[in-house]
């Protein structure tokens, strides 16, 4: 510090002789306030007096003043980032848009239109202020609507509100190809919906074919039905075919194929699996005939056990008591079947049937 400044400080300190006592420890804080022009008059006087007497604190004050000087002349981040004022112009433009939006809302008088309108207005304002949150909201809305809409649409059609027309696309696979192909693999692949799967059929033909679609897809059903009805491919493929088609048993044509497989497939496991797939459709005449036929003629006791269990369940539920063939077949089985379990099951079913008749 220059001698002239020291003299000035000393004179000033004497003029403002105050009761405030400053030591080196308490001076640290006051020196900072002094340097940045935030010390009270009595603090200023005390500091000035102290630095005249203490060389260490005078040096510290010089350091503080140098720091202030550096801060005052230091280039600021704002100058570097928006030297030309482009960012300010951009901010003003964006704010003007947001304010216009808000003004439009007021002009429409939405605020006076009740709770829903106020909620809507609040949402819009929040989205303007938090664009990222708004974007996330719209994505979630899209997902939710995407999930709900197909169901809603089905419901409307079922209610007959909208006249529907069904358009069938021409089959992707011709009858000729069907005759000459062989299914080499059936794969279930996730289709992107929650828990949903689509089927991928790999066909061996002159030129390999891959058919992809849901279990209800016409081409998928057509190929699988062909495989099952004609005992094509190995039993694993036919077993997989039954598994895929069992989700479409509401379709009478699929039930017909499953019935045929239950009776005629070369592999007992496939026949058994096909019978299981028909569970719940015992009231259907074709299914009931299939059960009776399997009971009387299938050589595999496992298949016959499945058939007798289904029939017994039908009898106990009282759904098929009117068919006289059931009682006759069950009575015959209870007396003549080679399998003890089947005889017992059939006898139990007959006992249940008797009181109902």
């Amino acid at each position: 510090m220059k001698p002239l400044e020291n003299d000035k400080l000393a004179k000033s300190a004497q003029a403002n002789a105050s009761a405030l006592e400053v030591n080196c420890e308490s001076a640290e804080r006051l020196l900072i306030y002094y340097a940045c022009d935030e010390a009270k008059p009595e603090e200023r006087a005390a500091v000035e007096q102290h630095v005249c007497e203490c060389a260490n604190c005078a040096a510290m004050l010089a350091v503080e003043l140098r720091l202030q000087q550096m801060l005052a002349t230091m280039p600021q981040t704002a100058d570097e980032l928006d030297l030309a004022g482009e960012l300010l112009a951009q901010c003003r433009s964006e704010l003007a848009e947001a304010l216009d939006d808000s003004r439009d809302r007021t002009a429409l008088g939405l605020q006076s239109q009740g709770f829903l309108a106020r909620c809507f207005a609040w949402c819009r304002m929040e989205m303007v202020m938090h664009p990222a949150m708004g974007a996330a909201f719209f994505v979630l809305m899209g997902l939710a609507v995407g999930r709900v809409m197909p169901n809603a649409s089905n419901g409307t059609q079922q209610a007959g509100l909208i006249p529907t027309s069904t358009v069938y696309a021409s089959p992707r696979i011709s009858d000729q190809q069907l005759q000459n192909m062989n299914v080499s693999g059936i794969y279930l692949v996730p289709d992107g919906t929650a828990g949903g799967q689509s089927v991928e059929l790999h066909l061996r033909a002159m030129q390999p074919i891959v058919i992809t679609g849901g279990p209800d897809d016409e081409d998928v059903k057509r190929v699988l039905s062909f495989v099952m009805t004609n005992n094509q491919s190995d039993s694993d493929v036919r077993m997989d075919s039954v598994d895929v088609l069992r989700s479409s048993t509401n379709d009478a044509e699929v039930r017909r194929v499953l019935c045929a497989t239950s009776l005629h497939d070369a592999n007992a496991s496939v026949r058994l699996r096909a019978l299981e797939a028909l569970h719940g459709f015992e009231q259907d005449d074709t299914v009931r005939d299939t059960l009776l036929d399997a009971l009387m003629h299938d050589s595999n006791p496992g298949v016959r056990i499945e058939a007798v269990s289904e029939l017994r369940a039908t009898v106990e539920s009282g759904k098929a008591t009117a068919d006289p063939r059931i009682a006759r077949v069950l009575r015959d089985l209870s007396e003549h079947d080679s399998n003890n379990y089947i005889r017992l099951q059939a006898a139990a079913a007959v006992r249940n049937l008797a009181p109902q008749q």
Binding site: E28, R29, I32, Y33, Y34, A35, C36, D37, E38, V63, E64, L65, R66, L67, Q68, Q69, M70, L71, A72, T73, M74, P75, Q76, T77, A78, E80, L81, D82, L87, L88, Q90, C91, R92, E94, L95, A96, A98, L99, S102, R103, T106, M125, V128, M129
Partner: protein, 220 residues
């Protein structure tokens, strides 16, 4: 003792170039109170005039604190939209300038705290040597009549370290330091804006300055 470059920021004392144009359209420069009253009655141009009167400082504050243009833009937008939304509730218990800065500092504090809780989202706090603006050296040369290269080099080093040290301050300390040294506000005004006492602000400034001095080590 006068200090270098500390502007006094008093409400209504400044007029920007953009604001001057609009003032000419309004016929005369209106004080903040009149503009606020008109804005509260739904006059959009009055609110825009208020925005243009203070938004340069608001953006500077946001840029200095966040050090990222996109973050500063968010702070600017959020602060003025909050001001617009809450203007009908402003009751002139303090100046509009103080009220506006209270909103801005709250938004900045939220922003800095949010960013601190997401380390991957933090802006580079310390400038590399290569990032220091070229004109800093020149400024030092102009400032020091001696044009001592050694001193200028030290000044440059201090500039880098000040930037780094500022990053070590807490969000509140940084805001107070920024408002005091780069916005030129008095501690009493800063206390009003932050909704606290002058003494509390003084303590924060003391802590911030001491931290800064320790960071700068023997360079001072």
């Amino acid at each position: 003792m006068p200090l270098f470059g500390l502007a006094t920021a008093l409400p209504g004392d400044r007029i920007t170039i953009g604001a001057a144009d609009r003032s000419a359209q309004l016929g005369a420069r209106l004080d903040d109170r009149t503009l606020v009253e008109r804005a509260q009655e739904g006059n959009q141009s009055a609110f825009e005039e208020l925005v243009h009167r203070y938004d340069r400082d608001v953006l500077r504050l946001a840029l200095n604190l966040t050090r990222r243009p996109e973050d500063a833009r968010d702070v600017y937008q959020e602060a003025f939209l909050k001001a617009y939304k809450n203007l009908p509730r402003f009751r002139f218990e303090c100046s509009f300038y103080t009220w506006l800065y209270r909103i801005v500092t709250n938004v900045c504090l939220d922003h800095l705290r949010r960013r601190k809780s997401r380390p991957e989202d933090q802006a580079p706090e310390s400038a590399d040597e290569g990032d220091v603006p070229q004109d800093f050296f020149e400024k030092q040369r102009e400032m020091n009549a001696s044009s001592d290269p050694e001193r200028a080099a030290i000044g440059k080093q201090i500039g880098i370290q000040i930037s780094a040290a500022m990053g070590q301050l807490s969000a509140r300390e940084r805001i107070i330091f920024e408002m005091k040294h780069f916005q030129g506000l008095k501690l009493r005004a800063i206390g009003d804006m932050l909704g606290t006492t002058e003494e509390t602000v003084k303590n924060s400034l003391f802590r911030a300055t001491r931290k800064l001095r320790i960071q700068l080590g023997g360079l001072l």
